[in-house]
């Protein structure tokens, strides 16, 4: 097949390794995402907390800059687990908006005009299709959440010295686990909703509803049934509960936070988050098909 000949010819050249096919989806996914200038600008904005944190850590450890700015930080350890959790919380909510904006379009575009059958008629499994799509969100959200937080952790460890890094190594693990948990939750919810409703705007609205309307139903359930289990519908509350545990957040009196802030036990929060992830995976597995058989 050549342009000047305009005849059909079979392809006999080299092929890429089969395991790497999902990266084609990732590559095209990224390039399609950043065709939108607004989304690119917002992604850049998501690095603002990192830059602010970077400057803050530098200022805290630089007497000369403090003198120049005429500020003085006392001996209180300002950069600690509270600080990192606060930073990650800000990054997490900015990444939530990024996900609600970007993720639905990645899958709903394929479903809108039945392109999924073309993907799956090629040497690409459903799992690889999903991994390709989810990897875009995972990479993007990692770059705006736990990776910058870990970089700041390393900077803090370097500037603080005196074994601060080793003493707080658990904090690096917490940052990673907390970040990945959040990414898995929002990416899977976004993908599952997109596959289910197949309409970008509706998917974005539904994702917002899951995080901002569903907690209201949880409160209603609590009031009507006089229970506290309605809090399980509040996913942001559940993730906060788990994060408090991961970051070893303590009350002023030194007690480990348990049920004073949490309305349900910690295990229930973990179980709720994992159940949501499992449910989303089930929806993806059920709905992501080249062809759907109509029962009857």
């Amino acid at each position: 097949m050549a342009v000047y000949k305009r005849t059909f010819k079979a392809y006999k050249g080299p092929l890429t390794p089969a395991w790497s096919r999902f990266t084609v989806l990732s590559r095209y996914g990224f390039s399609t995402l950043f065709e939108s200038r607004a989304l690119t600008a917002y992604t850049v904005l998501c690095f603002l907390p990192f830059l602010v944190g970077l400057v803050f850590i530098y200022v805290v450890h630089s007497g000369a800059v403090q003198a120049l700015l005429n500020v003085r930080f006392g001996r209180t350890p300002l950069i600690n687990n509270y600080w990192f959790m606060g930073l990650l919380s800000v990054e997490a909510w900015m990444s939530f908006v990024l996900t609600a904006w970007a993720a639905p379009g990645m899958i709903s575009k394929d479903f809108a005009n039945h392109a999924v059958q073309l993907y799956l008629s090629r040497p690409l499994s459903r799992a690889e299709y999903l991994v390709g799509k989810v990897s875009v969100m995972t990479a993007l959200l990692s770059c705006t959440t736990w990776i910058p937080a870990l970089l700041l952790f390393l900077l803090q460890a370097e500037l603080e010295g005196h074994g601060w890094g080793w003493d707080n190594l658990w904090l690096a693990g917490s940052i990673f686990v907390a970040g990945m948990l959040w990414i898995a939750l929002i990416a899977l919810i976004a993908m599952a909703i997109s596959v289910w409703v197949r309409w970008r705007i509706a998917a974005t609205a539904l994702m917002m509803a899951v995080f901002f309307v569903l907690p209201g139903f949880g409160v209603v359930v609590n009031v009507i049934l006089r229970t506290r289990w309605g809090a399980l519908l509040n996913l942001s509350h559940m993730i906060t509960s788990v994060w408090w545990h991961l970051f070893r957040i303590r009350l002023a009196d030194g007690e480990t936070v348990r049920f004073t802030r949490l309305e349900v036990p910690l295990w229930a929060a973990w179980a709720a988050l994992l159940a949501v992830c499992a449910f989303c995976t089930w929806i993806l597995n059920t709905k992501l098909k080249a062809r759907e058989a109509v029962r009857g």
Binding site: M1, A2, V3, R6, T7, F8, K9, A10, Y11, K12, G13, P14, L15, T16, A18, R21, V24, L25, Y28, T32, K109, D110, A112, N113, H114, A115, Q117, L118, Y119, L120, S121, R122, P123, L124, S125, K289, A290, R291, A293, V294, R295, G296
Partner: protein, 322 residues
């Protein structure tokens, strides 16, 4: 000829209903027509060959490999053009086709080159940088064909390729299919309910009816086997009938000058004209026809369906007894 598709009691159930019922047969044509009325299971068979549906019983082999166990390998050798719209609306045509080529395993550079070539080949070269959402129906069909052939498949599955096309676009599509078939590097399976499309392109036909094989035949052999039928209306002339018989034709008279003649392959029409002239007979009406795919199709539709291998071809007299 090498076997392209082998069906061994293939049964597919969807939603509790049997859609394909014990299909059995071997297809080895360069261009295979998959015919049948709506709902007969044509698309289901294609989807099963692609691995979208799994068989409840039996098996399907493509190039001797079981679809269930060699799906990945087979999909790399298959180009699929679905019946319905299938594209990403806000992608340019060439980017979409390149994307599909890369998913089939072509390196990015090769994929880009072949995407351009495929677009020129199907005649959309000038529109390749336009977004697919802005394409007309005919252009979308051609873009679907481009993505199906871009990776140089060994088997091309075309599901209703001429659906919704105007006569000119339809001819163009069929011309492309014939051209691809004639390269000898690709086997083509065309699913259609348009007999004309299949007749123009295919050398083998499988006809489905209610999920069963109603007929499976080699069109070329079928055409060769068929005799020529003539329906004549002539003025009365002594000895004309006998002369026609003496020529080697089977002949029957129905009175008032109406004749039916079976013309063997070695007899030309001009010999009949000559006889008519010799006997001073005027030929007032002549219908000349061969057994067409339509006849085969109608016979398959009116005949009883059977599971398993198709019934042996009917005796020649069944095509039209005198």
């Amino acid at each position: 000829m090498a076997k392209v598709i082998e069906l061994d009691n293939l049964t597919v159930q969807l939603g509790g209903r049997v859609i394909l019922d014990r299909l059995a047969g071997t297809l080895s044509g360069k261009c295979i027509g998959l015919l049948g009325p709506n709902g007969s299971g044509k698309s289901t068979l294609i989807n099963t060959l692609l691995g979208f549906y799994s068989a409840a019983a039996g098996s399907a082999l493509i190039f001797g490999k079981d679809v269930r166990t060699n799906l990945r390998d087979l999909r790399a050798q298959i180009g699929y053009m679905p019946e319905s719209d299938a594209f990403i609306a806000d992608m340019t045509g060439v980017r979409f086709v390149r994307y599909m080529a890369e998913l089939s395993g072509l390196p990015p550079g090769e994929a880009m080159e072949r995407a351009h070539e495929a677009f020129f080949y199907v005649g959309l070269g000038e529109a390749r940088y336009r977004k697919l959402g802005t394409y007309s129906l005919g252009m979308k069909q051609l873009a679907k064909l481009a993505q199906a052939i871009v990776h140089g498949p060994r088997l091309l599955l075309l599901d209703e390729p001429t659906n919704g096309l105007d006569p000119e676009a339809r001819q163009r599509m069929l011309h492309l299919v014939r051209e691809i078939r004639d390269t000898g590097e690709v086997n083509v399976l065309i699913s259609s309910h348009l007999l004309r499309d299949v007749e123009e392109c295919c050398d083998e036909v499988i006809i489905l009816k209610e999920g069963k094989i109603a007929a499976l035949c080699n069109l070329e052999e079928e055409r060769k086997a068929n005799l020529k039928f003539l329906e004549l209306e002539v003025t009365q002339g002594n000895g004309f009938l006998e002369s026609v018989r003496a020529l080697g034709c089977e002949c029957a008279s129905f009175g008032a000058g109406r004749l039916k003649v079976v013309l063997p392959d070695n007899i030309e029409l001009r010999q009949l004209y000559r006889l008519a002239a010799e006997h001073s007979v005027e030929i007032r009406r002549m219908n000349y026809r061969r057994d067409s795919l339509e006849d085969i199709f109608l016979k398959a539709m009116t005949g009883s369906t059977s599971a398993g291998p198709p019934p042996p071809p009917p005796p020649r007299s069944a095509h039209g007894s005198l």
